[in-house]
């Protein structure tokens, strides 16, 4: 589904990603955890070309995405087409504030695929129902709680029928009591067989939902394992100390 080879990314002298190799199969849920600044978000952003890698390749469905072997970028049309199949949900929702909930969900199908609102209406309502927000469809994002906004964010991304979904700390900006409703949507998605990459600090959730976990530190993948092994029997010293400090907080 997604294959990343020797991916490196630097911002000036700052090496954020160092030689990342990773592959995700269809239907797999990958949990990405690690301290802040470890490159988790940058890794996600490289997968839909919001950041372009300094070197290395990203393959989606077996095909090189965004750039060829020599590092030459593809055309805007090709890049946009690939992106439209990679859904992304953001920490700060990034809903379009000038559009209603419904128009946010329409945004992709309408402005990328050229569908009319009529053609997409039923699907849009179904999507909003699946995140429990159909009755909010004529409201504006500013009228919704953080948890509701984030669920609209998920529905907006799903409207493009993506092959894979990237979740970038989607619950980090939420009040604690709103985290559950968003995680519930993610859980439903994983049960429906969506391929997902989830950057998060919700350890309990990763443990239950992920098929595989990677731990990143200073731009490298330090450890990669099944959730049970990863949490119960971490191998790397860095992983152990991170888990120890994080889990002691949550208990």
């Amino acid at each position: 589904m997604i294959k990343i080879d020797n991916l490196c990314k630097s911002f000036g002298r700052d090496e954020v990603l160092k030689d990342i190799c990773l592959s995700i199969d269809k239907g797999q849920v990958l949990g990405i955890i690690g301290p802040s600044g470890s490159g988790k978000s940058t890794l996600l952003r490289c997968i839909n070309n919001l950041e372009f890698p300094t070197s290395g390749t990203v393959r989606i469905n077996g095909k090189l995405a965004y750039r060829d072997e020599t590092g030459k970028a593809f055309s805007e049309t090709e890049i946009s087409a690939t992106r439209s199949k990679v859904g992304m949900v953001f920490q700060h929702f990034n809903l379009f504030p000038h559009m209603t909930v419904m128009q946010n969900v329409y945004a992709g199908p309408k402005h990328v695929l050229g569908l009319s609102e009529k053609e997409f209406r039923e699907e849009a309502i179904a999507l909003l129902e699946s995140v429990g927000l159909a009755e909010k469809r004529d409201q504006f994002p500013e009228q919704l709680s953080g948890g509701q906004q984030q669920r609209v964010g998920i529905a907006r991304a799903l409207a493009m029928k993506p092959d894979v979904m990237l979740f970038d700390e989607v619950t980090s900006a939420l009040d604690p009591e709103l985290v559950g409703e968003v995680l519930g949507v993610l859980r439903k998605l994983s049960e429906a067989g969506m391929t997902m990459l989830i950057v998060t600090h919700e350890m309990g959730f990763v443990r239950q939902v992920a098929d595989r976990v990677i731990f990143m530190d200073e731009g490298r993948i330090v450890e990669e394992n099944s959730p049970a092994e990863f949490f119960d029997n971490p191998q790397n010293e860095r992983t152990k100390s991170f888990l120890a400090s994080v889990l002691s907080h949550t208990d």
Partner: protein
């Protein structure tokens, strides 16, 4: 009541036609320069993001020069200095040119600032959906930027209206100039300048109130829909709700 005794109605009445013609010219200059600078401002703003380095640098230099020097100097330079280079421009076109150049430099910064003020997350979200640059500019960035742009533009239009009075320096027959001439002929500075004062206020004040109104309206958020952001689809969406 002292104040009103100083105003001589017969002089005011006598001056009215010429002052009023001046007001019309003032308004005309404002409209012409307004339309020109509003449009050119957009072009310069996009030009400054162009791929051509030469274009970017020269437009940048133009904007900085016109923002860093007094308007009055720019005006007299165009009118009195350009003739040394063989470029002689009559008063009115010279005035319109100076005002347009000056305001274009400011307005392009308004556009640029408003576009840059839209949070980067909006661009990320639009790109992640697969929107192309042009579409994301039209559908996502501009509708949000316009909320900052509209009140700022109105504010500059009021400034422009007032700044047309400076064209009197190069003998453009607008309201200020006509007032000066008439006052000098009759020595009744009080009556004439009070008249001119009131007329500027009469056209300027509604503009200022409009700016206040728009600013308040834009602050309110998107839920209480403002005229500028309301689009066809919301109207239909609302219609269906009813």
């Amino acid at each position: 009541m002292e104040f009103f005794n100083l105003i001589k109605p017969e002089i005011a009445l006598d001056a009215l036609p010429t002052i009023f013609t001046g007001l019309l010219i003032t308004l005309l200059i404002t409209i012409i320069c307004g339309i020109l600078s509003l449009t050119l401002g957009v072009l310069v703003a996009f030009g400054r993001k162009s791929k051509s380095r030469t274009l970017r640098l020269s437009l940048g230099a133009y904007v900085q020069v016109f923002r860093s020097t007094p308007f009055l100097l720019q005006l007299v330079y165009i009118y009195f200095v350009l003739p040394f280079f063989g470029i002689e421009i009559p008063p009115l076109p010279a005035g319109i040119l100076a005002l347009t150049l000056h305001y274009t430099a400011y307005l392009c910064e308004v556009y640029r600032g408003a576009i840059e003020a839209v949070p980067k997350g909006q661009t990320d979200a639009a790109k992640a959906l697969g929107m192309r640059n042009r579409v994301l500019m039209v559908r996502v960035i501009l509708p949000q930027a316009i909320r900052t742009i509209i009140p700022a533009l109105c504010n500059y239009m009021v400034s422009l209206l007032k700044d047309t009075s400076l064209l009197s320096v190069v003998t453009v027959q607008e309201m200020m100039f006509r007032g000066q001439i008439y006052a000098a002929e009759t020595y009744d500075y009080f009556t004439i300048y009070t008249m001119v004062f009131l007329l500027y206020f009469a056209v300027g004040f509604p503009g200022v109130k409009l700016v206040d109104y728009l600013e308040n309206r834009m602050k309110k958020g998107y839920a209480s829909r403002s005229v500028v952001t309301s689009s066809e689809e919301t109207l239909t969406a609302r219609g269906e709700k009813r």
